[in-house]
């Protein structure tokens, strides 16, 4: 009996993202109608660019990989109540450090690949370390400091790529580093999928970052739910005061979780740098760090939930390109819809939580 009741509440909690998504979709259709597209056209354009064939569908999953890593990075920190808004800067720095290891370390492939991954993680953790230390020693709120560090990171990589690390003249006029050695480049896994009968076309990037993402997801799960440190992380996230009384060293946990979050964040740019471009530039896709905040939230800060919300976000991104291509609705509408969806989801979540609380009270009475 109790079991069934638990499941009922659980189901209601899962309802919020679905309802939020649907509400955002309705707004999207209304706006596109105002602009002069029929709802049918809009939906057709979205579906055509996202799920109409294997190539499109695989692209959604490809786009979801960095988004998953971003959501995971934010989620881990958030579990301890740490708001890592600095994922943005951390992946720009992490990607650069990883790329440097890929450019300047002549290593055999089996060693080189893990080395660049670890280097990217180290770079991300390093960039997270400064706001982390400022938080635990000086009490500076991480939301403010990481926003500043994002801007500093962008200017820094811009300087480095234009200046000391420039590979300009070598192959391009666009500011970029030298090419990454072939031993460190990420190959594609498409033939694996083809081998098991999934028709993933060769132009889609399902590359080694997929393996990295899976490993990170598993490690994060083990960390959060199987290790003592993970328990401490969740305890600190629930109540700092109670954790103090329980003898948990809150500041150590906050520092640790900030560094882990930064390390995961360092991996976000790897797909673009190591699989797609083969060199580093400050013009790699930006904004993924902010997407990660929403992805973590919608995925309820769980590694498994983040998988689904990352795919949802990838779907939305691709849907935007579909609208751009097949209708008169500009791609920018997706930003509006994404923002609205987040607001809808968190509000519906709150309403559901209140409703559940009221129900529980009634049942207890």
């Amino acid at each position: 009996m109790l079991r069934i009741r638990f499941d009922k509440f659980r189901l209601m909690e899962l309802l919020a993202p679905v309802l939020g998504f649907l509400a955002a979709l309705v707004v999207l259709l209304i706006i596109t109608m105002i602009v002069g597209e029929t709802p049918g056209n809009t939906i057709r354009a979205i579906l055509k660019f996202t799920v109409s064939n294997a190539s499109r569908l695989a692209s959604v999953f490809s786009v979801a990989i960095p988004l998953f890593l971003s959501g995971l990075a934010v989620a881990i920190a958030f579990r301890a109540g740490v708001f890592n808004i600095g994922v943005e800067g951390q992946y720009f720095i992490g990607g650069l450090v990883g790329a440097l290891a890929g450019i300047y370390l002549p290593l055999p492939k089996v060693i080189h690949l893990p080395v660049v991954v670890l280097a990217a993680m180290a770079g991300g953790a390093l960039w997270a370390a400064i706001p982390a230390v400022l938080k635990i020693t000086k009490g500076i709120h991480e939301v403010i400091s990481t926003i500043m560090f994002n801007n500093i990171a962008l200017a820094l990589v811009n300087f480095l790529v234009n200046g000391p690390l420039s590979g300009r003249g070598e192959q391009s006029l666009e500011p970029q580093t030298r090419r990454i050695l072939s031993t460190a480049l990420f190959g594609k896994l498409n033939h694996w999928f083809q081998a098991i009968g999934l028709n993933v076309p060769n132009h889609v990037y399902l590359d080694y970052t997929l393996i990295v993402a899976i490993i990170m997801g598993i490690l994060a799960y083990v960390l959060l739910f199987r290790l003592r440190f993970g328990f401490e992380i969740r305890a600190v996230g629930t109540s700092i005061d109670v954790s103090h009384y329980a003898g948990i060293r809150v500041k150590t946990v906050q520092l640790g979780v900030f560094l882990i979050s930064g390390a995961v964040a360092g991996l976000i740019g790897m797909q673009e740098i190591f699989a797609i471009r083969g060199y580093y530039t400050f013009q790699i896709a930006s904004g993924l760090g902010f997407d990660g905040i929403a992805i973590a939230l919608i995925g309820r800060n769980s590694p498994i939930g983040v998988i689904f919300s990352a795919i949802l976000f990838a779907f939305l991104k691709q849907a935007g390109y579909g609208l751009q291509l097949y209708t008169s609705v500009p791609n920018s509408i997706i930003y509006i819809i994404t923002g609205l969806m987040i607001i809808f989801i968190v509000i519906i979540n709150e309403i559901v939580t209140r409703y559940i609380r009221a129900l529980r009270k009634k049942e207890a009475a």
Binding site: I144, N158, L297, S332
Partner: protein, 290 residues
């Protein structure tokens, strides 16, 4: 040094500080009422567009300003409804609005000006005085008004009360929600004023360039006090003016000069800590007892 360059620097600095200062004033009202606002950047992304649009449509910068204020209030209401009525996490709501705001500017521009990244030129402007947008001078009286409202009126006292101790304020019959809605909406108004100084001649995608976040740092540096926040905004603004006017004459790479305001913000925060205290209930949703 040439005297005219110094004068030029002083006036230019006021104009460049203006948007940061207005946004910081908005942040003061918002946070004094107990709501953390990291969506200032998003508010400004919208108002910088609507002031250009409104001015062109109504052929008057004053109407443009009104449109900017109204749209600033509308978008601030999203934050207010989410964080006050539904007690949703304030940082998350702010991030969502920032994401949304980028899209709003680009979407409207595409539909109105047929260009996604910039508007057409707006010829209806405030008169130029001493070589700068004259609306920048409004900062001085408006700062004084903000101080007066916050510290010398019943409204200001109530606003501060709900930011410090909403339970006690509620017990005394103050409408906590109303006060917090006012605080958030005032930050929307201020972002409308910020747009009037930033660059009402044209909207360009991304023109706010992080000023909303710098404004937040200025507010903290100014210890949640309107005059302090404006002085801190002037510090950031004049640092930026120095960069713009002398960038080519400084023998260090421009990217390091661009980092200056952010590094300055970090240093300022490091130097400040322990001395500044946020309103006690800042960031905490208020849940009325049953």
């Amino acid at each position: 040094m040439d005297f005219s360059i110094i004068l030029d620097f002083l006036f230019k600095g006021l104009e460049i500080s203006g948007p940061i200062a207005f946004a910081a004033l908005g942040a003061v009202f918002c946070e004094r009422s107990g709501v953390i606002n990291i969506a200032l950047e998003g508010f400004m992304a919208v108002t910088t567009f609507t002031i250009v649009w409104g001015s062109i449509v109504f052929q008057s910068i004053w109407m443009g300003l009104l449109v900017a204020i109204v749209t600033g209030v509308i978008i601030s209401l999203i934050l207010a409804v989410a964080t006050i009525t539904y007690r949703v996490n304030q940082i998350v709501s702010g991030v969502a609005i920032n994401i949304m705001a980028v899209g709003i500017g680009r979407f409207l521009s595409q539909n109105i000006f047929n260009q996604e990244t910039q508007s057409q030129l707006n010829p209806y402007l405030f008169p130029t005085v001493f070589g700068i947008n004259s609306f920048a001078f409004a900062l001085i009286p408006i700062t004084a008004i903000c101080w007066f409202v916050l510290f010398r009126t019943r409204f200001g006292l109530r606003l501060r009360a709900v930011g410090e101790n909403p339970e006690a304020a509620d017990t005394l019959g103050i409408n906590v929600y109303l006060m917090r809605y006012s605080g958030v909406m005032l930050s929307g108004v201020m972002c409308g004023l910020a747009a009037a100084v930033l660059y009402p001649a044209k909207w360009i995608n991304g023109m706010t360039g992080g000023r909303g976040f710098i404004a937040l740092a200025a507010m903290i540096f100014g210890r949640w006090h309107p005059v302090g926040a404006v002085l801190a905004a002037l510090l950031f603004g004049y640092a930026d003016t120095f960069r713009i006017m002398f960038e080519t004459k400084i023998p260090i790479p421009s990217q390091f000069v661009q980092m200056l305001p952010y590094v300055l913000a970090i240093l300022v925060l490091v130097g400040m800590m322990g001395k500044a205290k946020a309103p006690a209930a800042d960031g905490k949703p208020y849940e009325p007892g049953e």
